[in-house]
């Protein structure tokens, strides 16, 4: 048996080009299938982890998913702002425990800038109700005092190499090369600990800072001939007139339906309150069909790859008649030949799957920065959860594909292989 195994390996090595191509096909197919599963899982995970303890997200009336995307995941943009007086009116609701305004629109070297109050750092929760923590420094001071202070998310600090005390300038809009706010630099007063959420990519400043930056702006461009130096801005009224969205926490979570109705019925302005957990579930409901389609398609690609494996082994069988017959005449039983062929299929599938995992790991490292733009944290590294089930099914199917040539080899008559034809 050992001799047969060694001969089988040598025989496979002799056919390494054909088997290698099949192996690569299986590797790509399994990487694809695993990637679909991983992106699905990680997208859900990232989105679900990104917000916790927020009962309602309020914005101008648009779609709930859109509001969530820009308010929580910093992707996409708002169609309208809401007026500060609407925000002030809403938060008088006695059921509301806390409310934090969010102002979006500016950026720093591709990273979104969020204008918010210091309460954000106390109130915001992610994952399992974990609060934000400072790696270094402190929150910016509220009001006028902290107007040119900024707090960085961990990733901003890491990728751009900033430390507390450094000075940065912001850019108008989300384009990396948009018109700048160079005349008003910010001092970094704090850097947040990593959270694995869009907070990591965000530059936080006070709402007053956003107003201050745009004092000498109108219609999205600096006013010609008017420049208000940074030291002068404190003389102006800096309380924002408009905000992009707001996060709301309730004293009693069960009141959420009632408060949501009240905000949606607010007469001063067309507002929308979205329950983040509900909006995400509804998003998954919408995406479920697309996800299953992608999954079925990639499963079919794997099936094609394994069918290729079976076809290759079957085709080789004809050329290997002589080889197998010699093995038989040397004492290998039909069962040995069966296991040899099935084992070869299993081996190629297993190597293909391993190569597929390596491919996927490489691809996720490459794709991670891109995915983060959408607020998705791709987990590199070893497969987990459902992925093991998928890998096991690929191996089982590979083995099943090997049974066909194995069976043929079993049935092949000894004499047939030894009788020279042609």
């Amino acid at each position: 048996m050992k001799a047969v195994l060694s001969l089988a390996l040598k025989s496979a090595w002799a056919r390494r080009l054909t088997l290698g191509i099949v192996l690569v096909a299986i590797a790509i197919a399994s990487a694809l299938l695993l990637a679909v599963e991983r992106v699905r899982h990680d997208a859900r995970q990232s989105f679900t982890q990104s917000v916790s303890g927020v009962d309602l997200v309020v914005g101008a009336r648009s779609s709930g998913v859109q509001l969530m995307l820009y308010a929580v995941f910093r992707s996409g943009s708002a169609t309208h702002n809401l007026r500060m007086d609407s925000f002030d009116a809403i938060v008088t609701n006695p059921a509301i425990d806390w409310a934090v305004p969010l102002i979006l629109g500016d950026s720093h070297r591709g990273h979104p800038v969020l204008g918010t109050t210091p309460a954000y750092f106390e109130r915001f929760r992610y994952a399992d109700a974990r609060p934000l923590a400072f790696a270094t420094g402190r929150p910016f001071a509220g009001g006028i005092a902290g107007v040119f202070e900024a707090v960085l998310g961990s990733e901003v600090a890491r990728t751009l190499g900033y430390r507390s005390g450094d000075r940065i300038t912001l850019t108008h809009g989300m384009a990396a090369a948009g018109p700048g706010h160079e005349d008003k630099p910010f001092a970094i007063v704090g850097i947040l600990a990593p959270t694995g959420t869009p907070v990591d990519r965000t530059v936080h400043v006070s709402p007053e800072a956003i107003t201050a930056l745009h004092l000498d702006w109108a219609g999205g461009a600096p006013l010609p001939g008017l420049a208000i130096p940074a030291e002068q801005v404190r003389k102006f009224e800096l309380a924002p007139q408009e905000i992009t969205a707001a996060l709301i926490g309730l004293k009693n979570r069960a009141d959420v339906f009632r408060v949501q109705r009240q905000i949606n019925a607010y007469r001063g302005e067309a507002l929308m309150a979205v329950m983040p957990g509900v909006a995400l579930d509804e998003l998954w409901q919408t995406l479920a069909a697309i996800e299953s389609t992608l999954f079925v398609l990639s499963a079919l690609v794997v099936a094609v790859g394994l069918a290729g494996l079976a076809a290759t082994l079957l085709a080789a069988l004809d050329q290997r008649r002589r080889e197998l017959a010699i093995l038989r005449s040397l004492g290998a039983s039909p069962g040995d030949l069966f296991f040899m062929l099935a084992g070869e299929a299993l081996l190629v599938t297993a190597l293909g799957v391993i190569l597929g995992i390596v491919l996927l790991a490489g691809a996720s490292v490459l794709a991670a920065p891109l995915a983060r733009e959408f607020g998705i944290h791709l987990s590199p590294g070893l497969p987990g959860g459902n992925e093991w089930t998928i890998l096991a099914s690929i191996l089982a199917t590979g083995l099943a594909a090997g049974l066909i040539p194995g069976w043929r080899a079993w049935r092949m008559a000894l004499a047939d292989g030894l009788t020279p034809r042609n």
Binding site: A254, V256, A270, P276, G277
Partner: protein, 163 residues
């Protein structure tokens, strides 16, 4: 001067319509809230799903249909919370449409309140509504509780809201 005013009026009318909930025949809404030991289930159905019409009843048969619908919504067994949570029904309130002549659509509402001895064990609520209202094909359920929020679509084949 009149035009902007009219425009503003139209705009506010349009947004007022938007602010109201949607009304889709065959689709109901269920809001489930678990607050400490109190489970509140608020159900809202287009009247059409319950009786097949959305206006004042015209004859005895339609009056009987309305009465039957009211009875279904008053049924203490309309919702079955997970047995392990040991929930007892506290109150049922059913709001039947008044047909005040404004025309358009009509909804019926029901609020079932339970008190649960073991609220932590509440992981599902089943409804028998689909069995008694054949015209109802979907309930968009939203839930909120200590574990957070979520949404789920209940159908005649999947009439169980899960946490």
């Amino acid at each position: 001067m009149k035009r902007p005013l009219l425009f503003a009026f139209l705009l506010s009318a349009a947004t007022a319509t938007l602010a109201q909930h949607r009304h889709v025949h065959g689709e109901g809404r269920l809001d489930a809230a678990l607050d400490q030991d109190t489970l509140t289930l608020n159900l809202e159905l287009p009247l059409d799903a319950a009786v097949g019409f959305e206006r004042a009843p015209k004859n005895d048969k339609e009056r009987a249909a309305l009465a039957a619908a009211e009875k279904i919504l008053n049924d203490p067994a309309l919702f079955r919370p997970a047995a392990a949570a040991q929930c007892a029904l506290q109150s049922v309130q059913v709001g039947m449409p008044t047909f005040d002549g404004s025309g358009g659509h009509a909804d019926i509402e029901a609020a079932h309140t339970f008190r649960c001895t073991v609220p932590a064990a509440l992981n599902s609520v089943e409804t028998t509504l689909f069995q008694s209202m054949k015209r109802l094909y979907r309930l968009d359920a939203r839930r909120v509780g200590p574990g957070g929020q979520g949404a789920q679509r209940l159908t005649p084949n999947k009439p169980v809201l899960r946490w």
